[in-house]
């Protein structure tokens, strides 16, 4: 999860406690930390490193159903990629993924920030009740949450349609099938994603906010700062590293969102809820075009990597992360 580290060079020397101070360290203790890290690295290389290389190679191959049995596949260079970018389906998926991600992440960060702020200003009992509710949502397995969502929005018997009809703003929604209309289906998936992701953002920001010394706010108040100014000049600058990490994580998770989409709509109706993760899956496993599927995945990784690197670099220039 949150992977940042404040480098504190001052701390480094007294941390090197692997040998007698001053003297040369014996070879055994120089190797010890590596021996301790080795199993983890080996496992990561085996199941993350190797597949990643394989993914790259695969994306330049025409690896179809026949290749599964013969093990042979033709090298097509960048053919998969040129074909992708000439494909209007793929471009629509790419655009949809960007919109989906922007909407989800914006909603998550804004609502999460507001919710964490709200938690600061309530009585102790209300804070306990709200946190418990949030934790329950956070802990609920995604598969179960998606199935419950499906049940809540079931056309005839779902509680949502009944409630929405009652409100009388949206007209008669009894028997309305959300999943067979493109925009409502995507909207529903966005609401589910935001609902499910909000507790993590809100609770993390709340924990981060709790570590800011109150004296900073008192000082700001004495200087005549209002609520908005305190946000701008105290809260947000101090929390920027956490906000950045959360944003990156939420972007990664939104782009790769699979379970809710697959379980609710399988990417339909008519491809209207297919995002990059689902598209890579369908290409590879439904159409048996593993090479083409891999190239979709590679595009995804590249987009995410560019985004993350740009973000992390900007932060590290400000001396805040890693």
């Amino acid at each position: 999860m949150a992977i940042t580290e404040k480098q504190s060079p001052v701390r480094a020397p007294d941390r090197a406690r692997t040998g007698p101070p001053g003297g040369r360290r014996p070879a055994r203790s120089r190797l010890l930390p590596w021996a301790m890290v080795a199993p983890a690295l080996a496992a990561l290389l085996l199941v993350q490193g190797y597949p990643l290389v394989r993914l790259l190679v695969l994306s330049t191959q025409d690896f179809g159903p026949r290749s599964l049995f013969t093990g042979e596949s033709d090298f097509v260079g960048l053919g998969n990629f040129t074909r992708l970018f000439a494909d209007s389906d793929f471009l629509a998926v790419l655009a949809r993924t960007v919109v989906f991600t922007l909407v989800c992440v914006t909603l998550l960060m804004v609502l999460g920030f507001l919710l964490s702020h709200l938690l600061m200003g309530v009585s102790a009992w209300a804070r306990v009740v709200t946190s418990v509710c949030l934790v329950l949502v956070w802990a609920m397995p995604m598969v179960a949450a998606t199935l419950v969502w499906q049940w809540m929005f079931q056309p005839q018997y779902g509680v949502a349609n009944w409630l929405l009809t009652r409100v009388k703003v949206f007209g008669d929604l009894s028997a309305y099938d959300w999943f067979s209309h493109p925009v409502p289906a995507l909207g529903l998936i966005i609401v589910l994603t935001v609902w499910k992701g909000l507790p993590f953002v809100a609770l993390t920001l709340f924990a981060a906010r709790g570590q800011i010394s109150e004296s900073l706010y008192e000082a700001a108040r004495l200087d005549g700062a209002g609520t908005l100014q305190m946000f701008r000049h105290v809260t947000i600058p101090i929390m920027r590293p956490v906000l950045a990490i959360l944003t990156i994580l939420e972007v990664i998770w939104s782009v790769n969102s699979f379970t809710p989409i697959w379980v609710l709509t399988q990417g339909g109706p008519d491809g209207a809820t297919t995002t990059l993760g689902v598209y890579a899956y369908i290409t590879a496993f439904s159409r048996n075009q593993y090479g083409a599927g891999a190239s979709v995945a590679v595009v995804t990784v590249v987009v995410l990597a560019l985004f993350s690197i740009a973000y992390v670099r900007r932060l590290s220039r400000q001396g805040e992360v890693v």
Binding site: W34, M142, A145
Partner: protein
């Protein structure tokens, strides 16, 4: 629990009351789907399929749970899920405990590289990895094979467990270890007798989070486990839905059984978990 006393006129007081009200409204909206799952599972069949929803399950009935448990293979799926999840959690905890101690307690050449790898690995999406992992396991005959899935989960869990455990090791004062070494403890003995007990709460919190990640995975289990006798609970739950006539009561009851242990464990360790995650990111 201090209930707000007689309403005073002070604006701070009034603002607090307003905040409390908003917080309660947010809580109700947020928790409603969780409540609806449990409530639906406890309803009588006739009340589930009614045009006017019943908001409180009364009279309660366990019939939905009975039908879910009676489905063929239910206990097999529970056993499969438990086997895969527990083995990947235990293995990754042992491996990551060593790595976490090394990273937190030693400054060694390449330490920064290890940290960077951990960051980068988290950026690689699972949906991208499933294609090569599938082909890889297929070519070595590892499809439909439990250890293949265990290994897959383990590696997705590792970066996270290393990272959080490292945070927990960091929070144990070095002086305690030094004192033990001065008292003539060996390094290994010192880890077992001093560090491990202090790390216990952190280990519990981390392992529960790792448990949930593996327990809830759908895509890898769906792609790798082909025969029905090897399904894990999430794969089975979703296949439940696509059978021609959905028994919503039983499906929601099964989802409740699937969620309850996680909900309970999470409530117990939540505070530690958030603390462990933010300690590296915010402080210093």
């Amino acid at each position: 629990m201090s209930a707000p006393a007689a309403p005073s006129r002070s604006p701070a007081r009034r603002r607090r009351t307003a905040n409390n009200t908003i917080a309660m409204a947010v809580s109700v909206v947020m928790v409603f789907p969780v409540y609806w799952m449990v409530a639906t599972a406890l309803k009588q069949r006739a009340h589930i399929l009614s045009s006017v929803p019943q908001f409180f399950p009364w009279p309660m009935s366990l019939a939905n749970f009975h039908r879910a448990l009676d489905k063929t293979g239910f206990w097999t799926f529970v056993r499969n899920s438990l086997t895969v999840t527990l083995s990947s959690v235990v293995l990754s905890l042992v491996i990551s405990l060593f790595a976490a101690i090394a990273i937190a307690r030693f400054r060694f050449a390449g330490r920064k590289a290890v940290l960077t790898i951990l960051v980068l690995v988290q950026m690689v999406p699972a949906a991208a990895m499933v294609i090569p992992v599938y082909l890889m396991l297929r070519s070595i005959g590892g499809l439909d094979f439990v250890p293949g899935l265990v290994l897959t989960y383990m590696t997705f869990v590792l970066p996270f467990t290393i990272w959080t455990l490292r945070g927990f090791v960091d929070s144990v004062p070095v002086e305690l270890e030094e004192a033990a070494l001065v008292d003539g403890c060996g390094r290994f003995q010192m880890y077992v007798r001093v560090l491990l007990p202090l790390l216990m709460p952190g280990i519990v919190a981390t392992s529960i989070f790792a448990f949930v990640n593996a327990w809830d995975d759908y895509i890898f289990a769906y792609v790798i486990m082909k025969s029905q006798s090897n399904y894990t609970l999430p794969v089975w739950l979703v296949s439940f839905k696509t059978s021609e006539s959905v028994d919503y009561g039983a499906m929601i009851a099964a989802s409740t059984i699937f969620s309850l242990p996680v909900l309970v464990f999470f409530l117990l360790v939540q505070r530690r978990l958030v603390g462990g995650m933010t300690s590296g990111a915010v402080k210093g």
